[in-house]
């Protein structure tokens, strides 16, 4: 399919590509928000610069996906980002989880180990997905994937460095990383799944099969874990499947904060 017009003419194809785009968009949108809550709180100034740059890129990626959805007749991109209820969101539950107890304006007791593990595991899953999307049957998405991949390269490099350094560091770091890995793995399956409509997406050549992508993620993880003194626990989806609209209270509060300004004047031009 070369264009949005062509896709719209084929209802089955349109349903599948729309579903996939919502997953991609909502994942990046919410993880970019959680990342941006770290602004000013990262372990050092260089990390503050790096992390906010990564979040800005990631929010840019969400924006492309929302624009692709707009082109498919799903409505205004800004409204898609800001004005959909939690139940309509397709992001993985892991990505909506708060950074830790407290609030970034009051007493943030955020866990850097959790941030590193969550972002690293996600970046690697995103990398596997983007590589596959480069060959998507939906050309506008394949083009976007080429662009996103160039930025993602740096994100993955960044998180992988943090991950291996902290796991092999002295002091409390390895223990905290181990706990964070256990915690992230409890919901990581929710990131790796393409949801109930995944088989359709693969059949239409939009992206490869979920099983294959998941295996590739595991292969990449094995390479990194192999020399490390820890192992990767099994991945689960303990709290449910975000692709099916199942979410936690954390998403509601994030959306309330995210949409606060937008909702004051939805027709304002920024």
């Amino acid at each position: 399919m070369k264009s949005a017009q062509e896709a719209q003419a084929d209802p089955k194809y349109k349903t599948a590509v729309t579903e996939l785009l919502y997953q991609l968009a909502d994942d990046d949108f919410i993880i970019a928000f959680r990342g941006s809550e770290w602004l000013g709180l990262a372990p050092h100034i260089e990390e503050d610069v790096a992390f906010s740059s990564i979040n800005q890129d990631t929010m840019g990626h969400a924006a492309i996906y929302y624009q692709l959805l707009e082109a498919l007749g799903e409505g205004d991109a800004d409204a898609l980002a800001h004005d959909r209820e939690a139940g309509q969101r397709k992001n993985a539950i892991l990505l909506e989880e708060v950074n830790g107890p407290g609030h970034y304006l009051k007493k943030p007791l955020y866990d850097w180990a959790f941030a590193v593990v969550r972002h690293y595991f996600y970046a690697q899953a995103k990398k596997v997905r983007i590589e596959s999307l480069k060959n998507s049957s939906y050309q506008p998405l394949a083009d976007a994937a080429v662009k996103i991949n160039m930025e993602l390269y740096y994100h993955l490099l960044h998180w992988k460095t943090w991950f291996t350094q902290l796991v092999t560091a002295k002091g409390e770091a390895p223990e905290r990383m181990k706990n964070a890995i256990d915690k992230v793995c409890e919901d990581m399956e929710g990131v790796l799944t393409l949801g109930p409509k995944g088989a359709n997406m693969a059949a239409l050549g939009l992206i490869e099969e979920e099983k294959l992508l998941t295996q590739r993620w595991h292969n990449e993880m094995e390479k990194v874990f192999e020399p490390l003194p820890i192992s990767l626990p099994p991945v689960q989806a303990k709290r449910g499947n975000g692709r099916e609209g199942v979410h936690t209270e954390d998403l509601n509060s994030a959306l309330a904060t995210l949409g606060e300004v937008y909702k004051q004047d939805p027709v304002a031009s920024w």
Binding site: A50, G60, V146, M150, E151
Partner: protein, 165 residues
């Protein structure tokens, strides 16, 4: 010899005057952001390639280009759209653009990153090769922060991006 219409030529001349909002020595042409110029009577449509997707300067660049083109007497409608294909890569920066980046104190992107993705640039001030990477992420999405051990200046470099990554 291919003929570039005089109207397209005049559009190019105007585009050369539209600078990056954050690096006022390089134009959008120098950066290789202009992919297509289509002139139809009094309207101009320019297709541009975003450097980094989340770059907040994109909207400003779009407005600046449109306004600049409207300064041309014969232009009544000017319109910019951003396209993703082909993807912008740092190899698109022109030779002149690379020189102008240096004038601004920003090292141009390395022409060839190493096989493992590692890359190296020389100091844009003293040209020493004795430099170190301070932070691959810089003040904007497209830049990194480095330090020159020779002249002891911190400096920035345009991040290399390529479809090979």
């Amino acid at each position: 010899m291919s003929l570039v219409s005089t109207s397209e030529q005049s559009v190019r001349e105007m585009l050369a005057l539209v600078k990056d909002p954050e690096i006022d020595s390089v134009s959008v042409l120098d950066l290789g952001m202009v992919e297509n110029i289509a002139v139809a009577e009094s309207s101009v449509h320019v297709e541009m390639l975003p450097t980094f997707m989340g770059c907040p300067a994109l909207e400003i660049i779009k407005t600046n280009v449109e306004n600049k083109l409207l300064e041309l007497e014969w232009v009544e409608k000017a319109n910019v759209t951003f396209i993703y294909h082909p993807a912008w890569t740092s190899e698109r920066i022109t030779t002149e653009g690379r020189e102008r980046l240096k004038e601004f104190g920003i090292a141009p992107p390395p022409e060839k990153p190493g096989p493992d993705g590692a890359w190296h640039v020389d100091c844009p001030y003293c040209h020493s090769t004795y430099t170190t990477m301070e932070n691959i992420f810089g003040p904007t999405a497209c830049r990194s922060i480095l330090y020159c051990k020779q002249c002891k200046n911190p400096f920035e470099a345009m991040k290399p991006v390529s479809t090979m990554m």
